[in-house]
Symmetry: C2
Subunit: 143 residues, 2 copies
Amino acid sequence: MRETIPLTRSLDLGGLRYDGSELILTLPLAPNVNDKGCAFGGSMACLTTLTGWGLLRLALGEQQQPADLYIQDQQTKYVAPAWAKMYSRCSWTEAEKSEFLRNFARRGKARAGVSISCTSDDIEVCKMDARFVALRPGTSKAA
Amino acid sequence: MRETIPLTRSLDLGGLRYDGSELILTLPLAPNVNDKGCAFGGSMACLTTLTGWGLLRLALGEQQQPADLYIQDQQTKYVAPAWAKMYSRCSWTEAEKSEFLRNFARRGKARAGVSISCTSDDIEVCKMDARFVALRPGTSKAA
């Protein structure tokens, strides 16, 4: 991500763990601070978007499936301000992962909805529900 | 914003127009590109968040009202990929603006829901519905 999405370097996005079914990414506070000294809501939306996107991207990579993966829509609730480093988690079940990959292999297109939770100082600070679509390169959403 | 929210400098956020009831902000594509060469969805969420936040912030500033303004929740639909500079617009009616400012002056707390639309090459690329809350400094959401 840090190679292909330059903003992730400004965010100082970090990867913490991936075990095949859960991805955890992190953001430090300093580059993502707002006028109030806590984390900018847009930074949190970037972090949670990238966590959901990354989980699906990694699954497609495991199958050596070239794919363009787009976010379609998301809903985010900002539960509390974040005053420290942020940890964002997204997971899915083996059944959800298999269905997504099977649909993509069969039809060259697959959708998945995932939930992402972001914590800071062990408090949940925001949660996002997001839907993504994977398309074979060349069958892009729009030219 | 460029002074107090450092990420806005990485996004290269620009201000285009404010007329008291509508705010238009812009983002260039280059620093906000993704792995597919179009705009990163997180950058678009930052842009639309800042446009809604900025409109309310400017209104509070016009009344010389010190306030902490937080996003509470948002829903975003990514309608099409953005392949060029992005323009984000948010407006409200005089009645909506007056009610928000009146509530804030009276109670030291006010909420407002606004819609933000983002275009690129004259095509709508994403739309966000967002709710914000303004609080008097010191009565913050959380310590």
